[in-house]
């Protein structure tokens, strides 16, 4: 079931909220949490019962090993502690690897050894990348500090909580479970409800009105099997850059809004990432919960920056190679991770020189790097990626509308290879404004406050009631064209 569907917005969500708060009112808090857990499992089952079964198996496996680990630590049994920890982490990696990377591995074996091993017909359980990381974080925390023993219901609810189980944010147990256990958790609060509706509506609008509109050009350009011209390639890449942001941050806003309806605050995932002036800042603003997971549970365990400069650079690169692989089982994803890792390495070395770039140039450099790297992230294969990159570099020709053929300014530019022709021949035939929406969105993301900042300042008044009603109606009426969220595939 999609967040951006009528059945979710008008049936599942109101029923889940109503039943939860009625349970809180008439039954003990634990029963209410069980009710919420059942709602979450129903939500997952509505996607696919098989996905729900994999989720339940993973949760029970981790809970069992987590408790055993915690007990081993309490008993100061070091060998047992290490053994259980390795088994638990290994189990999670194996589970994720089996579902997500088996066919990637087999394809590479086939390519490399010219073998013909049959691929396995596997459905990747939705959300597995997210809930596996959340559970690894819990296990590592127990291993490091001991404790963190929760009841089965609380733990299951933490992992399966439907606002974030499918695409994050990757919330930590220590920031969510105490909220479930809090005395105020079950008290219905109109202010929180309004805040939830506010940010949910912003997210719905971002997804249905902006991201799905940008998707027309992005999908058309990436699916075109012809060489894209300069303008086509740039419009395609920028449309995807903006689409991904509005899609994923829209999803996260909706997740935050839904969680607020249950009095639960989940962490923000975005903080205007395209305002970043360097790549390190970008990763502090983009997919924040993934970045902190990578830092806390991969980069630091590798040694972080405590083991010498060269090792630090290698750690950075390795962390981002893993980030690339986490996003998808394809070499283009790994290359995307490598590019970001390399950029962080270059940035770290640059800082040591003591030079500072002008803010404008720093932004141009960062934004364009991110935009170019997204091409590898989105492309289905190397050929598609290089087709776009070549187009962006002008190798496939620069075309200007034939209507400009009489314009002396453009005529002069023909000496550098600019030609007059159909500049959007390989893009979908659609309304004119859609081609340029990606360009309009650049100043928009730079100059406006993001949804979390707006939520912080939210206080009820006529103006925002009218605005939210308008955005809500746009979001709802555009649900007819709804597509799935991009990050569901990761």
């Amino acid at each position: 079931m999609l967040f951006n569907s009528y059945s979710f917005i008008f049936i599942f969500l109101p029923l889940a909220v109503l039943i939860y708060f009625l349970s809180c009112r008439y039954w003990p808090a634990k029963v209410a949490r069980l009710v919420l857990l059942i709602s979450s499992l129903i939500f997952m089952s509505l996607w696919n019962i098989y996905c729900a079964l994999v989720l339940i198996s993973s949760v029970l496996f981790n809970y069992l090993l987590g408790l055993t680990l915690s007990k081993a630590i309490a008993a100061a049994n070091k060998p047992r502690k290490k053994l259980i920890f390795i088994a638990a982490i290994g189990g999670n990696i194996l589970l994720l690897g089996f579902f997500k990377y088996t066919n990637f591995f087999l394809t590479n074996i086939n390519d490399f050894f010219s073998a013909q091993v049959s691929l396995i017909n596997l459905i990747i359980p939705i959300g597995i990348s997210f809930y596996t990381f959340m559970q690894i974080a819990w296990l590592v925390d127990i291993y490091r500090n001991g404790g963190f023993r929760y009841s089965l219901i609380d733990y299951c609810l933490y992992v399966t909580f439907f606002p974030y189980v499918i695409s994050g944010p990757i919330a930590y147990h220590k920031e969510i479970i105490p909220q479930f256990e809090s005395e105020n958790a079950g008290i219905f609060n109109t202010a929180t409800l309004c805040r939830g509706i506010f940010i949910f509506t912003l997210g719905l609008f971002k997804k249905t009105a902006i991201a799905d509109t940008l998707a027309i050009i992005a999908n058309g350009g990436f699916d075109a099997h012809s060489a894209l011209s300069f303008t086509e390639a740039w419009l395609t890449s920028l449309s995807f850059t903006m689409q991904l942001y509005f899609d994923f941050s829209g999803y996260t806003d909706m997740a935050i809004g839904i969680a607020l309806l249950f009095n639960i605050n989940i962490p923000a995932n975005f903080n205007s990432p395209y305002k970043a002036l360097d790549i390190r800042e970008f990763w502090r603003r983009w997919h924040i919960t993934l970045s902190r997971f990578l830092r806390d549970y991969i980069y630091i365990p590798f040694g972080g920056n405590r083991t010498g400069e060269i090792r630090t650079l290698i750690n950075l690169l390795l962390t981002f190679l893993i980030a690339g692989l986490w996003h998808g089982a394809a070499w283009t994803f790994i290359f995307w991770g490598f590019l970001h890792g390399l950029a962080l390495v270059v940035h770290r070395l640059w800082l040591k020189t003591g030079f500072h770039l002008n803010k404008f140039f720093a932004w141009i450099l960062t934004f364009n790097f991110v935009n170019m790297a997204w091409v590898f992230f989105r492309a289905k294969n190397w050929e598609d990626a290089f087709n776009i990159i070549k187009g962006m570099a002008g190798f496939n020709g620069i075309l200007i509308s034939p209507h400009q053929a009489d314009n002396p300014f453009w005529q002069k530019l023909t000496v550098i290879g600019i030609k007059f022709g159909e500049w959007r021949a390989h893009l979908p035939d659609t309304e004119n404004f859609i081609y340029f929406l990606c360009l309009v969105m650049i100043p928009f993301v730079l100059l406006t406050k993001n949804s979390n900042q707006l939520l912080e300042k939210f206080s009820p008044n006529w103006r925002n009631a009218l605005a939210i009603a308008l955005l809500m109606i746009c979001g709802l009426l555009l649900l007819n064209d709804a597509s799935v969220f991009l990050y569901f595939r990761f």
């Binding site: 009528y6 109109t190 202010a191 409800l193 309004c194 509706i197 099997h225 309304e431 404004f433 009820p460 008044n461 006529w462 925002n464 009631a465 009218l466 939210i468 009603a469 308008l470 809500m472 109606i473 746009c474 709802l476 009426l477 555009l478 007819n480 064209d481």
Partner: protein, 362 residues
């Protein structure tokens, strides 16, 4: 303002806005769905101007037959290309032109099954095939508002259908077209049909060509870019044609299949894909092939645009298949292809293509 008041105002405003948009969508009825289902008689008024974006003929055409089942026993199926064929000129039955935008064989099959289920007696089914049959899968178009099929045929509920058409944000181009229709009375190039299902939206273009004796479209530069066809779409279409053939034998109606002509420039891109498709279709049924490089497809005057032939060409097709009408048929236009002559036919077409390419693109 307190939170409760804010909540009430926001929900009320959302409800009001929703009601306004749904009412406006229902009134303007951009795709003619409301009119098709509740006022099909309106289609018999050939002077009307409605449906800003053009009717959804997947709904309007079957509905006209459902509402007047006694009037028709024979049907011509196809895409916008076949929509200019005049059913009144066809012999051996009471014909209705069932053409709809990018009509696919699997859709024709579903409609024929629905007619039979409704107890409509069928004498003849004529199917005009396009190259799109071998490149477009039904999946690709089932969610497009111009292509959603009649609810009786899909089994979809009316509520769901109305939700899709009326509970949605109108696109900018629809608003612009609707504005022109309502306030300026304009409705250019949109497919509107007469009571027998023939598209009358292009009659003015036909008149212009006759009056001026000149082509009305600008030809693009000649290019040769063979289009890769999807095996999946081709197989889906072949399976549907095969099933129609079986249905025809079982229900004792005549099935006539033909391949539509396209302008030679457009044909160039599709020729290779079509050769493979033509060979396979011949194994299922005989058919008339009007495509290729012949005196009609190389004549700009025979076309409204590169993809659509004129009403006049429709008349020639009828004459070739049914022998009716007072019109001369160019000798090279329309070959009856059978299992026996298909290989020879394709060999000839390949040779013609080679000659044409060496002449036009040396």
């Amino acid at each position: 303002m307190n939170y409760s008041k804010w909540l009430k105002i926001t929900i009320s405003l959302t409800g009001i806005f929703l009601l306004v948009v749904v009412t406006v969508n229902f009134y303007i009825d951009s795709y003619g769905v409301r009119t098709s289902l509740f006022n099909p008689a309106k289609f018999q008024n050939s002077n009307r101007k409605f449906c800003a974006t053009g009717m959804n003929q997947h709904i309007s055409a079957p509905e006209q037959v459902f509402s007047r089942p006694q009037d028709f026993d024979s049907f011509i199926f196809g895409s916008s290309r076949t929509s200019v064929i005049d059913p009144r000129k066809m012999t051996g039955g009471k014909y209705f032109n069932m053409s709809y935008a990018v009509g696919l064989p699997s859709e024709h099959l579903a409609v024929v099954k629905a007619f039979l289920k409704k107890g409509i007696h069928i004498k003849t089914v004529v199917i005009g095939l396009d190259e799109s049959y071998f490149s477009i899968s039904p999946e690709q178009q089932k969610n497009q508002l111009i292509n959603i099929m009649h609810p009786y045929i899909t089994g979809d509920s009316l509520i769901n259908l109305f939700y899709r058409y009326f509970c949605r944000m109108p696109k900018l181009f629809e608003i612009s077209l609707e504005y022109k229709r309502l306030f300026k009375g304009e409705q250019k190039d949109k497919c509107i049909t007469d009571e027998n299902g023939m598209n009358i939206g292009w009659l003015n273009k036909e008149k212009t060509i006759i009056a001026s004796g000149k082509p009305i479209f600008t030809k693009e530069d000649i290019r040769y870019e063979p289009t890769p066809y999807s095996n999946k779409a081709l197989n889906e279409s072949l399976n549907a044609i095969d099933e129609l053939n079986i249905l025809a034998r079982k229900n004792n109606f005549t099935l006539i299949v033909f391949i539509n002509p396209t302008h030679s420039h457009m044909y160039l891109h599709d020729a290779h894909g079509l050769f493979a498709a033509k060979e396979k279709i011949a194994q299922i049924t005989d058919y008339y092939d009007f495509s290729g490089l012949n005196s009609v497809t190389t004549n700009d005057l025979a076309f409204i645009d590169e993809g659509h032939y004129r009403y006049l060409v429709g008349d020639i097709i009828i004459k070739r298949i049914f022998g009716s009408g007072n019109i001369n048929i160019p000798i090279d236009f329309g070959v009856l292809v059978t299992k026996k002559n298909v290989n020879e036919h394709i060999r000839k077409q390949k040779l013609e293509l080679k000659k044409y390419l060496s002449k036009t693109m040396p």
